[in-house]
C-alpha cells in the first residue's frame, strides 16, 4: 500500500531542474507532497485531488494522473533552500476511511 517514490536520491547544482515521481498500486483520492529538512518536521507543500489536476507556486509544481495513479513533483531552477527529503503521501479508500500513507522519500541535495 505504500507509494513508491523515484528516484531515491538526486544531487543537483543550483539552478537545475528536478522531477520526483510517486506511484501507487491502489486507486487514489488525493496526493500530498511534503518536504522535510534534517531534524525538522515535514512541511506541507501542496495537495492534489482526484481529477488529474496540476498545482504550483513559485518554482515548485506538481501533477496528478488519477488514471495512472501517479503524481510528479517538479522543481525548476532549484535553489539551495530546496534541499531536503521530499515525501509524497497518498490517500486512498481503505476500509471506508481515508488514511495518508507516505512513500519512503526522495533525498534532494542542491549544491552551489
Amino acid at each position: 500500500q505504500q507509494p513508491v517514490q523515484s528516484p531515491q536520491a538526486v544531487i543537483l547544482r543550483e539552478g537545475e531542474d528536478a522531477v520526483i515521481n510517486c506511484s501507487s498500486s491502489k486507486a487514489l483520492y488525493s496526493v500530498h507532497w511534503y518536504r522535510q529538512k534534517h531534524g525538522e518536521a515535514p512541511v506541507f507543500l501542496m495537495i492534489l485531488l482526484k481529477g488529474g489536476e496540476q498545482k504550483g507556486h513559485d518554482k515548485i509544481s506538481a501533477s496528478f494522473n488519477e488514471k495512472k495513479q501517479q503524481s510528479s513533483l517538479y522543481l525548476t531552477a532549484s535553489q539551495l533552500s530546496y534541499s531536503g527529503t521530499y515525501f509524497c503521501g497518498t490517500v486512498g479508500r481503505i476500509q471506508g476511511a481515508q488514511k495518508l500513507v507516505f512513500g519512503q522519500g526522495t533525498r534532494l541535495t542542491i549544491n552551489p
Binding site: Q2, A41, F87, G105
Partner: protein, 113 residues
C-alpha cells in the same frame, strides 16, 4: 498562529523503561495524528483521533503502546515497556475540518539503549 507543539524534543531511556510524549495541536484542529518515523523512512501512522475518539488505531502496537486525548485537545502517547526497536522520531500532526492538510510538529526523537 502557533503550530503543533510537542515535548520533549529528545528522550534517551534504557530498554524496559516507560516513556511518554505530549502533543498540543493547532488551535481548533479536531483531528490529531501520531506517527512514527524510522531513520530514512517516511512517517507511519500509529493512531488518529477525531476529537477524543480514536477512529483508527489499527497500526498501534497495543501490547506496549497506548494513547489518550481526554478532552479532545492535547494528546499523550505512551510506550511501556520500551524496546530497542522503538528508537525513532515520534511525530504529532493535526488537521482542521476538511482533514486534507496535516500540519506536523517538530517531533520527539527517542533513543532506547
Amino acid at each position: 498562529e502557533a503550530g503543533v507543539v510537542q515535548s520533549p524534543r529528545y528522550k534517551i531511556i534504557e530498554k524496559k523503561q516507560p516513556v511518554a510524549f505530549w502533543c498540543n495541536p493547532i488551535s481548533g484542529h479536531n483531528t490529531l495524528y501520531w506517527y512514527r518515523q524510522n531513520l530514512g523512512q517516511g512517517p507511519e501512522l500509529l493512531i488518529r483521533y477525531e476529537n477524543e475518539e480514536a477512529v483508527d488505531d489499527s497500526q498501534l502496537p497495543k501490547d506496549r503502546f497506548s494513547a489518550e486525548r481526554l478532552k479532545g485537545v492535547d494528546s499523550t502517547l505512551k510506550i511501556q515497556p520500551a524496546e530497542l526497536g522503538d528508537s525513532a522520531v515520534y511525530l504529532c500532526a493535526s488537521s482542521g475540518r476538511n482533514q486534507e492538510t496535516q500540519y506536523f510538529g517538530p517531533g520527539t526523537r527517542l533513543l532506547v539503549l
